[in-house]
């Protein structure tokens, strides 16, 4: 007799449990887990996972995450996106975080009308190409025209630079775009660009360029590239006796930068999406949890991915029935989302209207200098 009751009770509980079971929803993440900007991918994945954990406690749905590695290669990214969309059938995804991968992936997302939120790709071409807005593509960070302007204005007004040299990677759209914007802004502000030199991704010997710069003696040198190249260049500049102030962009944000550059980069400035010193409740809570889990202060990409993922998850909860169309609709009206990296609203291009911060590289890590509002 007892046995039957046991079975009946377990069945009831199971049924109750099944009724409570959340509906499953699949979302994706595309990031460079391997390749030359591996640390960005790791940070991104950490931010993504943390957001999922937070959501899991109170969210309406059971999220089934699918993570794809784009190796910071556009073809790999395009293939991953296609697989996520047609094979895994995700209803939305976060990433890619570099512009060169995000641009082709955004074309695919737009074609299939799957919502995509890039957390770190700053080239304007990700959301708008050839005058056409890619309707389902959104961006949780600022764009390079803004970032380059911020850097140039800071150089002109705060650092008082009159002449500048620019070194950029000709094979990287991010680097090129920023170099161009910086140049035009700096020149508009009556500064003179006395050197505008490009190099290739695989170059390690910058002796010719550094010697050139030593001869020309600019006040400031702008290096809009990722941390591995920026660090190497900074070192060689200092070795050749170039004493100009160094200024960079969000690509510098990595714990590896001081390891690669040593003392050469101390005193350099860079624009970034957020500063871990930001006095904000949501930000501090995220930073503390990240630090407890990973033993390090989260960098901008971890924070941005966290924000982008939270935006997506919140939207999934908000809409009646989560699907690609409904989420795209909801995302386009996003206003005043309180994120770790600031208050985020999407403008008509799906880009986030946000402030930038300027950080200064110090011996024990980047220090906050100032905020620049759009």
């Amino acid at each position: 007799m007892k046995k039957i009751w046991l079975i009946v009770i377990s069945l009831c509980l199971a049924a109750a449990g099944a009724a409570q079971a959340k509906e499953a929803v699949r979302i994706g993440l595309i990031c460079p887990l391997t390749g030359d900007v591996k640390t960005f991918g790791e940070s991104s994945k950490n931010g993504f996972s943390l957001a999922l954990e937070d959501y899991g406690k109170t969210g309406k749905y059971a999220i089934n995450p699918i993570i794809a590695d784009d190796r910071n290669d556009p073809t790999e990214g395009a293939n991953s996106a296609l697989k996520l969309i047609t094979q895994d059938r995700v209803i939305a995804f976060v990433g890619p975080l570099t512009s060169k991968v995000a641009i082709p992936v955004s074309e695919i997302a737009a074609k299939y009308r799957v919502p995509m939120i890039t957390e770190g790709a700053t080239s304007p071409k990700v959301t708008v190409y050839d005058g056409k807005r890619k309707l389902s593509v959104f961006r949780a960070c600022f764009i390079d025209p803004f970032q380059g302007r911020v850097a140039a204005s800071f150089a002109l007004s705060d650092l008082g630079a009159k002449t500048a040299g620019i070194l950029y990677d000709v094979g990287n759209d991010y680097s090129r775009g920023l170099a161009e914007v910086f140049k035009s802004t700096f020149e508009q502000g009556k500064g003179t660009i006395i050197a505008y030199e490009s190099y290739q991704k695989d170059d390690v010997d910058f002796s010719a360029l550094t010697t050139k710069l030593r001869a020309k003696k600019p006040d400031l040198i702008f290096i809009p590239d990722y941390y591995n190249k920026a660090g190497l260049i900074a070192r060689q500049l200092r070795e050749k006796g170039v004493s100009a102030i160094l200024i960079g962009t969000d690509g510098w944000d990595s714990p590896e930068l001081p390891k690669i550059a040593g003392n050469a980069i101390i005193g350099g400035y860079f624009t970034n999406h957020y500063s871990p010193e930001r006095k904000d409740r949501v930000a501090q809570k995220f930073i503390d949890r990240y630090r407890a889990l990973h033993g390090a202060v989260p960098d901008a990409l971890a924070a941005l991915t966290f924000d982008a993922t939270m935006i997506l998850l919140e939207t999934i909860d908000r809409v009646g029935k989560p699907g690609t169309e409904s989420i795209t609709q909801a995302l386009s009206g996003l206003k005043n989302f309180h994120g770790v990296t600031g208050t985020i609203s999407f403008d008509k291009n799906g880009d986030a209207v946000k402030s930038a911060v300027i950080l200064r590289v110090e011996k024990d890590g980047p220090r906050y200098v100032t905020t620049v509002n759009p």
């Binding site: 887990l33 391997t34 993570i67 794809a68 590695d69 290669d73 556009p74 073809t75 395009a78 293939n79 296609l82 697989k83 047609t86 094979q87 060169k100 641009i103 082709p104 074309e107 080239s123 071409k125 190409y129 050839d130 000709v170 094979g171 990287n172 759209d173 090129r176 290739q200």
Partner: protein, 321 residues
Amino acid sequence: MSFLRGARRFLLVSAVAYILVKALFLSGAVTEYIQQIVLFSLIVILASLGLNVIYGYTGQFSLGHAAFYGIGAYASAYLTHLFAVESPLPFIPVLACAGLFSALTGYLIGMPILRLRDDFLAIATLGFGILVKVLLDNSDRLIEVLGGSRGFVGIPRITNLELVFAVMVFLVLVTRNLIFSKYGLFWQCIKDDELASIAFGIDTARMKSMAFTHGCFLAGVAGGLYAHLYTFLHPSNFDFLKSVDFLIIVIVGGMGSITGTIIAGLLWVGFIEGLRIALPSGMLELRWVFIPLFLIILMMVRPRGLIAQKESRLLGIDRAP
């Protein structure tokens, strides 16, 4: 119809294959992702066939084949952009032009370098490949829309199953006819012993150039089909590793066998893409550890290729018309 002579079996097999694949696509049993892979494998086969003519039949070791594939891809994409081509029919002359452009480049670069011996030819073609990649990376300085290192986006998707099949069948027949003509015979003579061929009075320089040019033509057409399938081009797609991909297919398939190239191409792309789906993302990097090992072992054990002469009667394409 001397063009189609002896091709009955091949045409039959192709028709059946087409019907089967089309039915599979229409039934919705395979996702678009897989459909794209199938088309991609056919395109890769076409390009590899070009390398087979250059290397498998004529013995010229080229490590820069991907460059011609890339040139064709970019040329075709530029033409469709320029002339606003959207559909398959007007696309065919574009493909032909892309192929011709690649072929012309091959002819011009071949003139000086084809007289070099194998190892030097290898480095020269490798160097040319790198040169082309640098050119593509900076292409937007010449023509803005080519995109340079930002990539060429917004290419119309014109490639479909019918187009790929039609182009392939046609070009395979053309190649077959060439191979079984006196030219093909000369090519194989050159591969076997160039000095003896010269002694026999064969104009080896001209024959080598012809093989090279034809191979580049095939690569160019394949590139054009590729560009309009993936709708996105980036110089990093056309690097040395891509050349190695083609080389592996030619070697595995057996040099001097069209059937071998076709089968090897299908197997190879299937294997690579299959691994992408099957392997968890952490293990994906192991692909390129095993591929070169496989290559080394293949060279030791079966240098003539994996697919022996016997199987090549399968498709009815490796015999004289």
